[in-house]
Symmetry: C2
Subunit: 335 residues, 2 copies
Amino acid sequence: MTVSVREVAALAKVSVGTVSNVMNRPEKVSPDTVERVQAAIRTLGFVRNDAARQLRAGRSRSIGLVVLDVGNPFFTDLARGAENRAAEAGLTVLLGNSDDDEERENAYLDLFEEQRVHGVLISPIGDAADRLARLRERGTPTVLLDRQSDNHNFSSVSVDDPAGGYTAARHLLEIGRRRLAFVGGPVSLQQVTDRLAGARLAVAEQPGATLEVIETAALSVLEGRAAGEALLARAATARPDAIFAANDLLAMGVLQALNMNGQVLVPGDIALIGYDDIAFASAAVVPLSSVRQPSELIGHTAVDLLLREATEGADAEHEQIVFQPELIVRASTGG
Amino acid sequence: MTVSVREVAALAKVSVGTVSNVMNRPEKVSPDTVERVQAAIRTLGFVRNDAARQLRAGRSRSIGLVVLDVGNPFFTDLARGAENRAAEAGLTVLLGNSDDDEERENAYLDLFEEQRVHGVLISPIGDAADRLARLRERGTPTVLLDRQSDNHNFSSVSVDDPAGGYTAARHLLEIGRRRLAFVGGPVSLQQVTDRLAGARLAVAEQPGATLEVIETAALSVLEGRAAGEALLARAATARPDAIFAANDLLAMGVLQALNMNGQVLVPGDIALIGYDDIAFASAAVVPLSSVRQPSELIGHTAVDLLLREATEGADAEHEQIVFQPELIVRASTGG
DNA sequence: GCAATCGATTAAAACGATTCAACGCCGTCC
DNA sequence: GGACGGCGTTGAATCGTTTTAATCGATTGC
């Protein structure tokens, strides 16, 4: 039924070792045997068995990537960057979507470990520190995405979230707003707390400014819409005059709620800024101000770091790379 | 260095066969040996080698999914549907992004074949018929996504694109527009030509109506913006009064060009409708009318079909499932 | 002319989990 | 008391590829 090197070898009248050599180092084989073997491969429709290769090699030729939300363009852009860089190195990226769920996160990590991947890139939920430490002890290098390790134990590629949060809030203050609200959550995500911390700092520096926190269960359009509708239910005077959303999906949800049932509150009554600068932000009902992260570059760089750790072995030094975010001003904050 | 069943067996003072049984059918092993073996697994930090399992099993526990564009929410929604259904069956989904590139498409198919996946779900570029036929002959069942096979040789899950195109164009005609333009491409995508064909039909039924075709190189926001800018460069009288874009990404690009450099042409001068009804469509500058496809359901159903083909073997009958699209009217067509 | 060298090829030993026929042990039945 | 059956366990074979040491011819060097 299934055709293996054995059959190929028989048809080409060579040994299985030679078939292997033809596929992996043809320069070590005489030209006419190469031709004969390749002909045999073609006529039999031989496809080599990756499981057997991996078993022998001890490692697979892929790296695992666990993201919080594949529906978020920030992560698909990041994945694209990682994939391109990995392809250059002859590796494949296995994409896992944890969807903010620790169980799914663990399931993917288990899977990747059983697959003996070259390494894991992960944007972890909460404090996965010991889980990841065990993973690495067993020989799978790991790089954190979009977040630094608390004790510098892991390599990481991230963006300066406190600075991004500061920049966003500062911008809202600079256009004259004082009653700020932060929409974001869950707080188990370090990205959320860091951005909030930065915003708090900016508000604290501005006398008379306040910051209200509206916590959401996820960083999704739906949650944003719910938050926006909650605000809408308030008396007009009780509403903030500016909103900083922890990411663009939330911001777009908020925008839908505030600007799409007849009324138009953004940007006149309420200024709005998001985070990530996804491609859809500029095409929103009111083009969305945002804080841009270099998503593809993050993915690209993370693979570089991972490959370095993988080659240097267990005692590789761990490097934290931090990119700076960039403020993008559009109509939603009066730009 | 690496710990295998052998070491576990030694520590637990049992044979390797028993260790395997503990992991795969614990009910066949006496309770105290189960406990002893599990203790050994824990203390040694044993993680089973998936390559070895697969080699023995002959098949991997995953299915391959090749999509045209991971950046398109339609496909990530579809992937989510597939993933959920696959998870219920204990399978993993490997997601490959062909990015409209036949070379990448082939690379992923090769990879999946070497991995001995349970089957392949693919939204193919152009006519991959013989490539896919070979794949299936070698034992990998295949289901087409978002497109039917020309000769009913493959199972498929798709949406009635001609009907969708007809519905979209008919809607534009019903709101009184007559000079229609279709923006889409490349024509190698059957989705594009089918939607266009449907639109042509609707226009032909309407005396005095015309349909101009503006071909794009891809179904992306960027290409849409380029098309929009080209229209903008024309004299106002030479512009169409309605545009049907082959998908929402294109439509949003067109919208950006037509409504965001000071002027506002949509929907007054030009009505605009997209296709897919991605989540961002309703949050666009002008909320976008669209033709909705049941993306998650497509992915879900495709996995069902695949599993059925896989169990029924080579002589399984091939089923074509076609869902009906749904017109969603929003502000961009005056809704 | 014999040894050394070189290139091409081979045969066999891995890799690690699963499976299956065989085996030992114990209690039951006649 | 011996045959039988059932349960739990074992050991070896197996999956398909890669790799290494060994082999075989043929050529070169002296």
